[in-house]
C-alpha cells in the first residue's frame, strides 16, 4: 500500500499534464511504516534527460539521482522511488520500464490522455524481477483526485 499526500500528488499530476505529450519524471520521497505501508510526502521534479524522443522514453541523469540520494540522507527521509508519465497510454509498466527498474523502489506511473490526467498506478519489482501492482489507497485517492 502506498499513500500519496495531496501536495505531491497535485504536483505530479500537474507536471505530467504540463509536459504532455512528453514523459515527465522525478523522485518520490517519504517514509515506510513497519507494516510496509509507504507514504509519499514530497516529490522532486527533474528534467527528462533522454536524448531524442521524450514522448515514449524518460531518463534521469546520474547527477540528479545523486542529488536525490543526498537530499534524502540530509533530510532524514527515504527516497521511495520514481514517478513518470505515460502520455496517451495506460499506467502499466512496459518491458522497457521493467528491465531498467530497481529493486525495492516504487514506480508511480501517471496516465495522461489527450492532455488530461486519466489515472495513476504504482508498481514494484518482486523477487523474480517482475512488476507487481502496489495499491494506492483508494480512500486517499478519493480525497485528492
Amino acid at each position: 500500500m502506498i499513500l500519496i499526500d495531496s501536495i505531491p500528488f497535485a504536483e505530479m499530476k500537474s507536471e505530467a499534464v504540463h509536459i504532455f505529450p512528453d514523459e515527465c519524471c522525478g523522485f518520490i520521497f517519504g517514509n515506510e511504516h513497519a507494516d510496509g505501508t509507504r507514504k509519499v510526502s514530497k516529490i522532486n521534479v527533474v528534467n527528462n534527460a533522454k536524448p531524442g524522443d521524450k514522448r515514449r522514453r524518460f531518463e534521469i541523469s546520474p547527477k540528479d539521482y545523486m542529488q536525490a540520494e543526498r537530499f534524502a540522507l540530509e533530510n532524514d527521509i527515504l527516497l521511495l522511488g520514481i514517478y513518470h508519465s505515460h502520455p496517451n497510454h495506460p499506467a502499466i509498466p512496459s518491458e522497457h520500464d521493467r528491465v531498467a527498474a530497481q529493486p525495492w523502489f516504487s514506480y508511480v506511473i501517471i496516465s495522461v490522455m489527450q492532455g488530461q490526467f486519466d489515472h495513476i498506478r504504482s508498481w514494484r519489482l518482486n523477487d523474480a524481477s517482475q512488476f507487481e501492482e502496489e495499491q494506492i489507497s483508494s480512500v486517499h485517492l478519493n480525497k485528492i483526485i
Binding site: E59, L79, D97, P103, W104
Partner: protein, 92 residues
Amino acid sequence: MATVIIPTPLRKFTNQTARLQVEAGTVGEIIEKITFDFPELKKHLLDPQGSIRSFVNIFSGDDDIRDLQKEKTPVNESSVISIIPAIAGGKY
C-alpha cells in the same frame, strides 16, 4: 577510509547501511571489497565477466569514473564514491 554511498534500492543487501567506510586504493578495489562483504550486491553491480554493469554509474565526488581512470581511479580517505543506478523507462 573512503566513503561509499549505497543507493537506497540496494540497501537491503547492505543491512540497510547507507554509507560504508572502505580501505582501498582504487574504485575497483572498493567494488571488490563491498561485493565480498555483501555478496548479494554482486549481481547488481557486476556483469558475469566481473566488469561494472553498463547501467551502473560510479561517481568519485561529482565525476563519473568513466571520465577518470574507470576502475583504476584512485581513492583516498576524503573520497566519496557514489553508486548510481541508471534510471530510465518509457511507455513502450
